[in-house]
Every structure is written in structure tokens, then in C-alpha cells.
Symmetry: C3
Subunit: 468 residues, 3 copies
């Protein structure tokens, strides 16, 4: 296992030479990570990572799902069960199972990130396998005990300038506050307001969450108006703690204009458990417009992550909970569903709306054309199943010819795998360099322009779009 | 800013050499443009273009939309308002705004066409920017005053053999007649029958248009039979003025068989304003089959441009009207919707049906398979958001393996930007050469066959499919 | 016409060198063909092929459809009419028509396979055309008379180890039995259980087929329980004759859980001809789960071939029957429709479900994510309109980054054109080598791993997934 210094750059020598030159301009720039799922407490506590399995396997559903597909039950990979039952498999066993299945990751994005981390951080040059599993485990374990592998040390080593987390609206953001108040930590770790569970009346526990929201915000009775006020108050709390973004997931990106009495009536019937699926979708579609309205007021960038069938295997969900590898993309449609929202706020210069998708057909068909007209709409980086080398190149080829480079929002790593952050950003930088180099070599772009754009994609655009 | 002589050809030296050889075969062939939106009066009047903004910016919604997305209001770009209010921004200001935003067009098709025109026609080698904006404006302005920049002189310089316009069925086609009668003009400028606004009962002003149609054609009362007769009469008028094609746009390519009494009843209720959206769709789906029937009778090629959500921003539409940059593609489906029409005329050797799409998923899935069986069905060139280098290569790769090269209809520029016509056709020729060269270098096509095909794509196919 | 030894390998010299090395590892491996449409009687009877038209044209709807699209009626190509009327066109005339239209196949998969067969099997180096049509006909005709062109001799020459046919559940499989019992034939020719016509209540003749099924299996009255028993009995009969797979086609891959009384009621009403289209879809969706249940019991791999609008031209269907070139792909959706089936059997280690598609948007969006989690789900090879060079590379790029190489099921040729089998498998091997070589040259895969994977794709995976 080795890392080719020209990895991910095109094989054609002329194009590779240009790509290498572009990559050198951006390789060392600080990481701006405006969307992801690292826990702020990881950095606030700054405890050592416990072991290789905890660090790299158990909580990374990109990794566990593929080993599961090979017939290994999730419990053998140490995925925590919902019941909170003690995990009976040792970290060393989990690691061995992973090493035995390493060949499954050939050609995958996860495999590439894992290899990058193993080589660059731990100096491992052996392909993981059953035979060297213990040796690798011990090597990593030993490294993790050293001070330079504490989370904050890695944060600095990774040159992360901004790291956004994703948080429940009722989170007290104590870890964020502690980090901000700590003079020994120079990084910027900011929360993201993620209110899905409070906006979808059929989400499990919605009424309870709404009640807790009302209670926390002192808005008395759970009236629709109080609910809106409480959401706005929590958004302001997030803004006060450094948030720049509110993130929204849904099956389809539907927005619906409702008069307030109609919305209030649906809200009340939702609390009473009386909404049909269609009515609930109307209500949450309405709430998406309300969230956009609040974004215009409080300045939070609105990001959309639609089009995923969550928790496809109900048996796995019952045992292991969400985010365990069985979320499956769906055909997604933005044009009609987002129209009511865009009719209202699409031309508003203070509103930033970043569209992500896992249905890559929408890149050229819908997202680039929308971002190519509406000043508020920005193209999100290729996300989730699409954050991989070939998919990233398809993304660039799909959106650039319609929308250029300046309607994008820069790269987001969207990860809960802290160690993979540098490899993911490096992947993106290499592939953007490869894409730009091809345009240069095909006479479609001047080299000087490509150099400027390469930097803008990494630095200028995320700062501007995410108001950093 | 310079034009690489090998631009758009692949970087791999072996492939580039073959591509160059193929391109040299077709670079100088005359332009056949069987579908576009240039105004025939431009050539009939042959007045000088007034200024660079009028020529290149104000009326090109590919250009204005991307600057608008950067936050510039359309009025600052001189886009005419519907109210007909005087435009308060000077051409020089519009041009400066464009130059300030030139970097937005890097990597876009529009940027490539604009650069081609600036370099090739005006000898400009500076990247437009705020600093040189006045200098460039003056240089272009001066050129426009010279006789060789009159529309007819450019028409000859561009080596346009046939140019089709797109026209309202009630247009008197006076400009076309004047051009045809003018012995000093050798070009062939032909109208295209575009009846959408007369076929969709919910289109604004439909009843009025139908009334005018009946009045013009002397078919007396607005009966359904009179309406059909009037449409057929206008088609004959277009044929008499050189038309070879009737062009049809719609949201989804739906065709519906109706018995005449049912169609007549919907027609009458449509005039009375009583149709639901679903009923109106049924009626216009029926009229699509009627148009196909008339095409079989009068020989006009039927082209379909479905799958666009027109005028997505109602505020922009209210102020600036249609074709102002906020038409957004939709997922499109041809297989079931076109079946009734194809059941009736799909095997008819006199019927030519050219399918365009802005949903590129349909290229390999629907359009190539349909064109690979029905003798009447031809594959339209990649259109609108897809008429760009990478998209054109994706198109060729998507359709060729199923349908070969001979079910295509050749390139169409579909443009209202007269100056971009040569750059667009040149782009297509370069990319087809690149695609063919790859097949040659991968041992999938003999060089001699590639040379023949390159010429057929530019010359033989559009002549045959569009009956020129 | 010549076959470049490096055909289908990338032009870039470094990548081509690696691709060649990988290809050399797999070029000579035996062919495993677990899904196709060759008739077992061809091998059992081992009669000489009658003539070039019968061998290569008349029965290959990939070929006839494209010549038909050029305006040649199917009867002129000798496609048999349903009425059984004598074919009036001679094989020589069919062959001449084909030769006259040979240029249509440039760039198509069919053209590539035909050229491979003509060169490699018959030593023909002339591009077919009107002038050499008789000469080529005679050369092929002469070869066909020789013993080495008998089906079994070709079977050995092609190095086919396993060939699966596709068969009606009531087929007596006599040809398969004869081949298995014949000590002079060493090949393995196995049937595939294809019950579609027995599972879709609105399929023409369904009730008759069900009656024959009940009669054959002695399950007495056509009760729902008897129907299930009879299907299970026929599956066991297939297993006893070597079958490893049950194959299922449908418009959309819908699965539906029904309680037995509800299923029985729909069955009874289906026999009475009383089902609506929606009810019939529910019943066949239910039967898909029943088939999965039986697969778990009897071990037959379940393959799904959804998403095709069959017999799009009803006129052609009426005259020439099914499989005559006018089946058209449809947008397909797996995620919600397959969920009930996967809820029940998705985690079952004995259940193998191979998903094929002709809607390539589902590769990255649905199929790779499903196969990347469920142990039962495997990714089918690119099928039908997608079994061509560029489409195969798009397939690999679309699925690998999410699912790796080891969730695939290997290549299937899916052909009724016996002579094209080696060219199809060779195509797949060359393109997989090309894909792997690119990953090697882009630093994404070690060469040693690529060599192992190349062999696994051809050998290990189809054996494992199809239980061979």
C-alpha cells in the first residue's frame, strides 16, 4: 500500500503535468469544512481515541455496510445496538474482521480514504489482511496513545480552519462554547441547526420534541405561533454560538405556501396524531418556507439534503438505529417542489440556498439551471454516494457547462469519520485540479484562469457561500 | 484570450492526431441550420447591429441569466421590460457589467462561444474585464459600423447555406418572402411553423389566438373543424414560403387519440374557459397527433422540444416576459406518451419526427431505442443546456452504441445569438471529430469509415432528415 | 475490416500497457454464461446452421431493428411472421440487404460483435457491402457445412464451460437431459426457470397457462394453493435438470406482501378475468415475494430484468410477435418497490438476488447502494441496450465507488445469437481491464490487486453468485 504522489490525476502526461501544477497551488490550503457530523465534544474533551475499531470502523457506516453486505452481521463489527447491550466483540476482533475484508474496498471511496489515513497518519504500508491484523492494530493503538494523536493535535495537523458540526435544535452547544472560550484552542468549531425531527409531524417522537421545544423556550402552550417563535429563538441561540447554517433533510424537496390559519390547523392536528402522510408532507413543506423566511431574517445559510429513503431495512433499524448503512437514494425532483420557496425568496440577495443531491441526474437537468438563474441558489458538492473520484468528475462535467465554477459552494466532507477529513478534502482538490487541467489541455480554459479557479473552489467560494 | 487550433480535441496525442484529421474534413463545410431563433428581418433589413450590448448581451438569455445569478438585476443588463419602458442603462454600461463578470463564464458553453466570436470576428485577444471594457466596446462598435459586419455579410462569411427561423403561424413571413425575392441575397432563409400557443388551451390568450386564426383563414365560426382547416391552411402557407419543419414544445411529450366529437367538445369547452389542466393536456395531446397527421400530408418534419418548466420565476416573467433565463428542465418520459402517435405514424416512411431533450437520461434509455426501431424517429442534437462540449460527448456515447450514427438528425444551433452560429457548429464538428477519433484509436471504427461519418453528420444527415 | 489486438483498450499508452497486461490474464479463461437465450436444442441436435441469414440476421433483433429503422420492412429481413406464412425472401436476399446496410452498424455494439464473428470465425476481412454480398454469403455458407461449424464444435472452440438457457416452466427440458446424458458432450447446458407468463394475470393466455400448469402437476382444481404447489414442483424439476436460477421480468420491480386469503381471492378473480391493471400488479408483486420464498427453499438464484415496455409497436407485434426489436426501456425504480421483498429475505444468506436494469440512472443511485448493504443483493452486468463498450465503462464507474468489485455478479451475455457469445465476453473482459488499468494509472489501485480482481470478475464472482 503506497500513495502515489500523482494519485487521482489523469494518466495523459500533458494533462497530468497541468493538473499537478494546479494541485500544488491548493494542496496546502487550510481546510474549510462547513458541513459534517463530527461531534464537538470530541475536540472539547480531547481524549485519546480508544482503539482502531472505534476510530475507523464501528461508527463509519460507509465501512460497516460493505462488510455487512459480505455477510458479516453488524454486531460482529461492534456497531452499537439500540438496546445499549454491552458490545461483546473486542476492538481487536472488529479490526481483524475489517482486515479480512479489506479487498472489498478496492476501488471504493472509503477504501481510498482509509488507505490515505493508514499510510499518512500511521505510516502503514501493508495491505490489511488476516495475517497482519494484530500487527496493524498494535501499531495504530500505540500511535493513538501519543499526544500527537489527540483530536486537537490532529485538528491542527490537518490544518482545519473551520469545522461545522450538525446539532439538534435543543442541544445546549456546551462543547462549542467550551471550545470558543478555550484560549488554548485556536480552531473554529461551529454548530449547524438541524431541525428535521421538529418539522416532520410523522417523525417518531415529533409531538414530544415540540413539547420540549415549547418548554425550553418558555413559549407556553404548544401553539403554532409559539412553535415558530421557539424555533426562531433556538436559531438565534445557534447564531450566538457561531452557527452559519441550518441544514434540512427530507424525502423530496417540497415547499408549500399555506396561510397561517391553515398551517396552525395542521399543526394542531399533527400534535393530536391525526395527519395523513399527505397532510404531514404539506405541513413540513410549509415549514421549509418558514425556515427560509427565518434564514432571511437571521442569515443562516439553508442547505438541503433531500432524496434519501432512510432506514430501508426496518429490522436493522430496530436493532441498530439510524445511520447504519441502509439509507438508499431516490429519484429526486427539485423544479416544481422548490418553486413556491423560490418564488418568495429566490431573488433575495441575503438568502443562500445550497442544494445537495444523491440523484446525479439532477446535476445537469435541475440544479445547475436553477443555480444558473437564481442568485440565492448554490450547487452543493457531490454528496454521500457521489463524493468519490469518478462521481466528482461527473459532477463537475455536469454542472460547469451550464453554471460555470462560481455557482458552487465549495467542498463539504459531510463526515463523522474525523480521520478521513484531510483525505476527503485532498481528493476533492486533486479532482478539481484534474478537471481544470483537462479544460486547459483541451483549449477551453487559460492556465491562469484555472489557477485562480482552483484556489477559489477551495477558499473563496465556501467562505462566501457559507458566510464565513 | 486565444483560440487553440486544437481546441476541444482530446489531449491524448494519438487521438488528437486522428481527431484533427477528421476535423479538417468538415471544418470548411457550409453551415446547415435547420432549427434556430434568428429573426428573418435581421437579414431582410440588413441594418448594422447597433452596439455590442445589443449584439451579444441583452437578448442572449444564456448570458444574462448567469450574470443575474451573480446578483445583477436584469434591468442593469438592458433586458427589455414588458411594459416597454425606456431602457435607462446605456449599451456601454451593459457592456461594462458584462466585462466585470466575464470570469463567471469560464468553463461554460456561452463563454466558449463568446470568446470564439470576440477573437475570430473582432480580433480581440484581451480577457474582458472592468479595465478594458471601454476599449473593447469601442473596438466592437467601430467594427459594427463597417459593411463587412452587416448581417448579410456575416451570413456569407459564416458560409451559412440554410437558416431556419421559428415563427408564429399567423406571421405573414414577409421578411422570408423579401429575402427569397431578392436576387442580391443567395442564402436560403426558411420559416418554421411553431403552433404551440394555438394548441394548448390554457396558454394565455389561446381563445383570442384561435379567433384570429379563424378570422385570417376565413373559416368562419370558430368550430373545431374550422380550427383544423385553418391550421392546415397556415401550414400550407409556410410550406409555400419554404418551410420544411413544424416545431412543437410541451411540458411532457404526450399524445392522445380522441374521436372527433370528443375533440370538438373539448375545443368548445376550451374556448369557454372550462377545461381543467388534465383536460387541456388531453386536448393538446390529441392535437399533437393531428399535427403529425398534417405532417404526413404536407411533408413538414415534426420536431419535439419537450421537458422544460417555462418561466419558473413568475416575478421575472411578469416584468421581462418569456425567454429570460429561468426555464428549467424536467425529468421527461417519451415511451408511453408518444406511443399513440407512433402507433399511427411511426412506421410511415414520409413522416420524420425528431426528438430533442434536456433530460439526458433519456438519450440511452428512450430516444436511441425508439430511433433504433421506428423509421420515422430521429435523434435530435443535444439541446439547450446540453449543447456544450462535455454534454455533446456524453450524448454521442449515450446514443451511438444503440442507434449508430445514422439515426441522428445532425446538429442544430437553436440560437437567437446570430454571432454564435459559426462557433456553435464548429464546436459540434470538433467534438464529433473527437468522438470518432476515440473510436478509431480504440479499434472500434476504421479511419475511412470515421471520415465518411464525419461528413455525413454535418452534411448528409441534416439534408435528409430535414428534407433540404 | 480488421481486429486491432488492442481494441477497446484506452488510447493513452501507459493505461493501455496496464490494460493489456490485465487482459492477458483473462483473455483465455473459460466462458461462464449464467444467463442467455440460446436454445438447448441447438446443441442437442447439433445440426449445421442452415445459412448466414439464419445464423446472423433473421433471429437477432438487435440487427433487424436497426435495418428496419432505415426503412426496410421486417419481412424483407426474413423475420418469421406469426401466421407462419412461408418466408418468401431467400437467405441470400436477406444477407444482401444486411450487407447493403452494414454502415448503419458503425459504432454500435452489434456491429462490433458481428465484425468480431466475421473476422475471427470466417476470416472475412472485407467490409460487407452490396458488391461483396454474394461472395461473403458463399464463404460463410461453405464454412457452415464443415464439421467445425456445428454448434457443439463451436461450443468447444468458444471454451464455454457453462451455458444457461431460458425456459418456460412447462418445458420438459428434454434437450437439456439429452445433453447431460450424452457422454460425447462435455459442456454444461443448464435451464433457467422463467415464469413471467404464469405470474402476471393480465398476460395473454394466463388462465390457460395456469390450467395447464395445474394439469401437468396434478394439483387438481386450479386453487391458489395448487398453483403455488405446481410452481414449486416445476422449480424442483428445473433444479433436478441442473437449473441454478429463476429469472423474472416485469415493468416495474414491485413486491407486495399479501395475506394468503387476499392472494387467493385475487387469483380466483384473475382466472375469472376480473382484475384491474392495479389489482393484477398487486398480485404479481405478491408472486414475486412467493418466488423469493421458493428461491430460499430450493436455492435458485433470483434474477430481475425489469423496466422494459415490451412490444411497443402493436402492429409489429401482431405480425411478428415478441422480441422483434421494439421493446423500449423505461425509467425504473427499485428502492420502494423491492422493499417488502428485502424486508423479508434481504438479509438471508441463502438468497441471491441479481438486479439488472436498462435505466442506467439506477446504477449509482439505487442498485449499488442496495447491493452495498444487503448481503442478498448483487449487481447485474450492464444489460441489453447497455451491454456495449462505453455503457460498460459507465456502469463500472457508476457502481464501483459505492459497492466495490465484489458485489457484482460477473458478466452475462443475455444473447440468443450463439455466434456472438465469445465476442461479448471478450468485450467485457477488455473493458474491465481498461477500467482497472485506469484505476491503477490514477494511483487508485495496486496492479497486483487489479490482476486478482480481473480474474475474479470473470471467474470467481459468477461461480459464487450463480452457485455454479
Amino acid at each position: 500500500m503506497r500513495l502515489d504522489p500523482d494519485r487521482l490525476l489523469p494518466s495523459d502526461p500533458a494533462t497530468r503535468a497541468v493538473a499537478r501544477r494546479l494541485y500544488e497551488r491548493v494542496a496546502g490550503l487550510a481546510i474549510i469544512s462547513p458541513h459534517g457530523h463530527v461531534d464537538a465534544a470530541l475536540l472539547a474533551d480531547n481524549e485519546p481515541f480508544s482503539d482502531p475499531a472505534e476510530l475507523l470502523i464501528r461508527r463509519d457506516h460507509y465501512v460497516t455496510r460493505l462488510i455487512h453486505a459480505a455477510g458479516v452481521p453488524l454486531e460482529r463489527l461492534g456497531v452499537p445496538e439500540r438496546t445499549g447491550d454491552a458490545i461483546t466483540v473486542s476492538p481487536r476482533e472488529v479490526w481483524r474482521t475489517f482486515c479480512e475484508h479489506w479487498h472489498l474496498f478496492a476501488g471504493t471511496a472509503s477504501g481510498y480514504w482509509l488507505a490515505s489515513g493508514l499510510v499518512e497518519l500511521f505510516g502503514i504500508e501493508l495491505d490489511p489482511c488476516a495475517e497482519n491484523s494484530d500487527q496493524l492494530f498494535d501499531a495504530i493503538q500505540e500511535a493513538l496513545a501519543s499526544p500527537e494523536f489527540r483530536p486537537r493535535a490532529l485538528f491542527e495537523r490537518f490544518a482545519i480552519e473551520v469545522l461545522a458540526t450538525t446539532d439538534d435544535p435543543l442541544d445546549d452547544l456546551a462543547a462549542h462554547a467550551a471550545l470558543a472560550a478555550d484560549p488554548s484552542f485556536a480552531g473554529r468549531v461551529i454548530p449547524t441547526f438541524r431541525p428535521d425531527a421538529y418539522l416532520h409531524p410523522l417523525a417518531p417522537g415529533w409531538a414530544d420534541r415540540v413539547a420540549r421545544l415549547a418548554q425550553r423556550c418558555g413559549s407556553g402552550a404548544s401553539s403554532y405561533r409559539g412553535y415558530l417563535d421557539a424555533l426562531a429563538e433556538r436559531r438565534r441561540y445557534f447564531v450566538a454560538h457561531g452557527a452559519v447554517c441550518a441544514d434540512h433533510a427530507m424525502v423530496q424537496p417540497l415547499s408549500v405556501e399555506l396561510a397561517e390559519p391553515d398551517a396552525a390547523a395542521l399543526f394542531a392536528r399533527g400534535l393530536a396524531g391525526e395527519l395523513s402522510a399527505a397532510e404531514a408532507a404539506v405541513f413540513s413543506g410549509h415549514m421549509l418556507i418558514e425556515m427560509a423566511r427565518m434564514s432571511v431574517e437571521d442569515g443562516l445559510v439553508m442547505t438541503l439534503h433531500p432524496g434519501v429513503y432512510r432506514n430501508h431495512s426496518s429490522d436493522t433499524f430496530a436493532r441498530f438505529g439510524p445511520d447504519t448503512g441502509h439509507d438508499i437514494p431516490l429519484a429526486t425532483s427539485f423544479v416544481e417542489g422548490l418553486r413556491p420557496l423560490l418564488e418568495r425568496y429566490g431573488e433575495n440577495p441575503d438568502f443562500h440556498l445550497v442544494l445537495f443531491t444523491v440523484d446525479e441526474t439532477t446535476f445537469s437537468r435541475e440544479i445547475a439551471p436553477l443555480a444558473g438563474f437564481y442568485p440565492s441558489v448554490y450547487i452543493g458538492a457531490p454528496w454521500w454516494f457521489l463524493d468519490a473520484p469518478d462521481a466528482i468528475l461527473r459532477f463537475r462535467a455536469a454542472v460547469t457547462e451550464t453554471a460555470g465554477f462560481y455557482r458552487g459552494a465549495g467542498f463539504v466532507d459531510d463526515t463523522r469519520a474525523f480521520l478521513s477529513i484531510p483525505a476527503r478534502h485532498d481528493t476533492s482538490r486533486r479532482l478539481d485540479s484534474a478537471f481544470l487541467a483537462r479544460l486547459v489541455c483541451e483549449g477551453r480554459l487559460e492556465l491562469e484562469a484555472a489557477e485562480r479557479i482552483a484556489v477559489d473552489l477551495v477558499d473563496t467560494l465556501p467562505r462566501k457561500v457559507f458566510k464565513l
